[in-house]
């Protein structure tokens, strides 16, 4: 038997609320399949199962909040005999009323009829929106939180100023959609605050920066995109992410997580990409095995990841797997990023805006598009020498874009 436990999906997550099971007892599950949807402070996350087998028993019901590490279900692994299910845990309220009939099982989820992000489904439940009447605008027509908000604004009368005042009062049973959204944003802010405070408290950061000539990279990208149909074009951010992955092969100490009292280096390079959310806040889910992907694959996977992050359909592994984070604030006009490492990772790479600058080449001053790359790294794990080698590798790789 294998235990399916509440996973840790962020540096400061200590509990999660089960929204729904995607399987039922007796169902066969394969490694990587979605078995549950869990609400965290940042979003509703689809959780994968990490073994092949058959669902033996659920130990947690939708709506229950349980701590990280608590066993939520038992999976009978392939080759094992079926066991009689253990009696379900008895709630204290039932202990005093043994003759009370058992509560009805939660309704089975009819997956596949409506594509709805778990987060949107939860919001619709909270504010009373019929999902059957909502037009989805997410990936493949999936209904997103924004769609639910929009539908709510069409079906619910606009609150008067007095009603707004009431909704922001203490009447918890009368949550308006704005209140729910504000609650989520406040919780996300608290989560980010906790992770960043922990980072600055526990991780002795050091910072390095270098200016990289992007002339060849931008010219190569322009030429490459001119040959590609619009659906296959690349963004320059993909070159940056791939270059980081390849540079990490040369300085693998930066590709690690801190566990207990020491760093644990990762063979796999899973890059967390900082993605801003429209309602505020950000998430940094993983692109897996970046060093092994072609630029075309990476671009498609990045497009998909950004869409799903903003639609609230991320998977648990995407939040738990990053081994380093990359953030690109160039589009906001930022030239230099001094990032805060996301624990338990031990490094973060930041990129600023590509700007034209005077550049000396072979004794001549020429105009060149350049970008400032920075490394924030954990001094317990690496020192400036290794960090410098990483930035040098990044510089070299971005000057040879056709090799990415």
């Amino acid at each position: 038997m294998a235990d399916f436990v509440m996973p840790i999906l962020g540096a400061d997550m200590d509990s999660g609320t089960l929204i729904e099971w995607k399987k039922k007892p007796g169902d066969r599950v394969a490694k990587g399949e979605i078995i549950a949807v869990v609400e965290t402070d940042k979003a509703a996350i689809e959780i994968e199962v990490f073994t092949n087998g058959v669902v033996q028993q659920f130990l947690v019901q939708p709506g229950e909040t349980v701590p990280v590490g608590k066993v939520m279900a038992v999976i009978r692994e392939e080759g094992e005999q079926a066991q009689p299910a253990a009696p379900p845990p008895i709630k204290p309220a039932l202990m005093t009323t043994p003759s009370q009939p058992p509560a009805p099982a939660p309704p089975a989820v009819e997956a596949g009829r409506l594509k709805v992000s778990p987060s949107a489904k939860q919001l619709a439940l909270e504010i009373g929106v019929d999902l059957a009447l909502v037009r989805g605008t997410g990936p493949d027509g999936a209904i997103t939180r924004e769609d639910v908000h929009r539908a709510a604004s069409l079906t619910h009368p606009s609150p008067s100023p007095v009603a707004v005042g009431e909704a922001t009062g203490t009447r918890g049973e009368d949550k308006g959609e704005g209140r729910v959204s504000a609650d989520r944003q406040a919780r996300m802010r608290q989560t980010i605050a906790a992770a960043m405070t922990r980072s600055k408290r526990e991780i002795p950061h050091y910072y390095l920066g270098t200016t990289i000539d992007m002339g060849r990279a931008m010219a190569w990208l322009k030429e490459e995109n001119s040959k590609r149909p619009v659906t296959d074009r690349l963004l320059y951010g993909v070159l940056l992410i791939k270059a980081v992955a390849l540079a990490l092969r040369e300085v693998p100490e930066l590709n690690a997580v801190w566990k207990g009292t020491e760093p644990v280096q990762s063979d796999a390079i899973h890059i967390g990409v900082a993605i801003s959310l429209r309602q505020g806040g950000l998430m940094a889910p993983a692109l897996h095995h970046v060093d092994a992907q072609s630029l075309t694959e990476l671009m498609r996977n990045l497009q998909d990841l950004v869409k799903r992050t903003r639609a609230g359909t991320l998977r648990g592994s995407e939040l738990s797997d990053p081994t380093i984070t990359v953030t690109n604030l160039g589009e906001q006009g930022v030239e230099t990023v001094f990032g805060v490492i996301y624990p338990p990772q031990v490094a973060l790479v930041g990129f600023g805006k590509v700007v034209d600058r005077p550049w000396v080449e072979a004794g001549q001053v020429v105009a060149r598009p350049v970008v400032t790359a920075t490394l924030s790294a954990d001094h317990r794990v690496t020192d400036g020498h290794r960090g410098g080698l990483f930035l040098a590798a990044l510089d070299r790789l971005l000057r040879e874009p056709s090799q990415l």
Binding site: K222, S226, V230, R278, Q303
Partner: protein, 88 residues
């Protein structure tokens, strides 16, 4: 409804798909879409892909600046479709 209005409405719908939270009625037609809608390069690329699929027009990367505003998009699509008709 003339062709330009129909194209404009379709473009607004596509923008709504990219930025569901945006108030499309308040878009100023000659002001940068990026500035008004807080869209990034990924959003913009998805918008260009949506234009391409919806109107069956080719949009080379060097033409992107012509799509900076709502009016620019409408004019581009109208011209591209006329070009298609002349080419057939």
């Amino acid at each position: 409804m003339n062709q330009g209005d129909a194209i404009r409405n379709t473009i607004l719908r596509l923008l709504g798909d990219i930025t569901p939270e945006a108030d499309l009625q308040s878009i100023k037609p000659d002001v940068s879409l990026r500035d008004q809608l807080d869209i990034d390069s990924m959003d913009f690329l998805n918008f260009v892909i949506a234009l391409h699929k919806e109107f069956q027009v080719e949009i080379p990367e060097h033409e992107y600046p012509r799509l900076a505003t709502l009016n620019g998009c409408v004019n581009y699509v109208v011209a591209a479709k006329q070009g298609l008709r002349q080419g057939t």
